[in-house]
């Protein structure tokens, strides 16, 4: 199955290639326009990205596709009332990711519970037409005391999954591809498409 990934995020592309080994994944072309995401829910954003990418590919795409895959994901921190959540990518956009990680940790009240979860919502858009299919995955964990590790991407250096003592960025893809939010969403998606 040939899928277009509606994302310019290299980290996501690497993970999806590991998580969906039976699929051929095309990255979003560098020359294509940016993909909008301004929804209030992960699901809205995933749908918005899948719809946008499918419509664009219909007019400009250079290969046959079976579908378009879009991912909206984020880190939800209990003591920050679920934030940055759906705004994970938009929060402090002017900062590099490592500064963003430190900024997020700095926002935590000293005595706060550090519970957090990573959420991933996938939207699959059959090509050239057809209703979207959604799949969700969540992994519970907590915020690390400080950023650690160099693998993965995004907030991985500050997230310690439940049952582990190191961050996703320390644990790397062998662990992450088993229990991450994205891994779980992919498992759910594979049952449906």
């Amino acid at each position: 199955m040939k899928l277009l990934l509606a994302s310019r995020n290299e980290g996501k592309l690497v993970e999806f290639r590991l998580l969906l080994p039976g699929f051929e994944l095309l990255p979003w072309p560098k020359t294509a326009p940016g993909i909008p995401e301004d929804g209030a829910f992960f699901r809205d954003n995933a749908a918005q990205k899948a719809d946008f990418a499918r419509a664009w590919w219909s007019r400009h795409g250079e290969a046959e596709l079976d579908g378009v895959l879009a991912d909206d994901s984020g880190l939800c921190v209990e003591a920050l009332h679920g934030g940055p959540g759906v705004l994970s990518a938009r929060f402090a956009r002017e900062l590099e990711q490592d500064e963003k990680n430190r900024a997020l940790l700095a926002m935590m009240p000293l005595d706060a519970r550090r519970n957090a979860s990573f959420v991933c919502v996938l939207a699959f858009a059959p090509f050239p037409a057809g209703e979207l299919v959604y799949a969700e995955g969540t992994v519970e964990g907590k915020l690390a005391p400080h950023p650690a590790g160099t693998r993965g991407f995004g907030y991985d250096p500050i997230f310690i999954p439940k049952g582990y003592r190191r961050t996703f960025a320390q644990l790397g893809n062998r662990v992450k591809s088993r229990l991450s939010h994205r891994a779980r969403a992919c498992e759910a998606l594979k049952l449906m498409v």
Copy 2:
């Protein structure tokens, strides 16, 4: 104590007057500009509103003040990964509130847990200068099966606080002023200013 409320929301003004009986509350003038809120966290937004309103009042205000009070609040739904949360006001802005309430209920998966919480973060800005003081309040509950009640405002018709069987919009201010997120945030604030 004379406070400027950095909000055009009539419902909030009514509630704050009940919750802060020792305070004189001025509403945000109809002729004043809209107050921005584009942060990723309730606290960011409350700070942004308080700062904006204090700066504007310094230049254009027509009365002496002791401080500016800003409120950022929202409904966090567990099954929607904490959404609309900080985006509660921005979600589906084109809809009237009663349509918004129905749209939110329609987004709930059929078998989903209906746990939700209302969150309020207050920022108090001393006038004419001084560091902001923050106070938070939360009330746990669940989403109603359908909107009910005419009192209160915002998402009140679809929120049933824990321990009750009716919505905030049915229960009205006698209950709401005892246990709402805003009531709890006001209690915390009164200890500090």
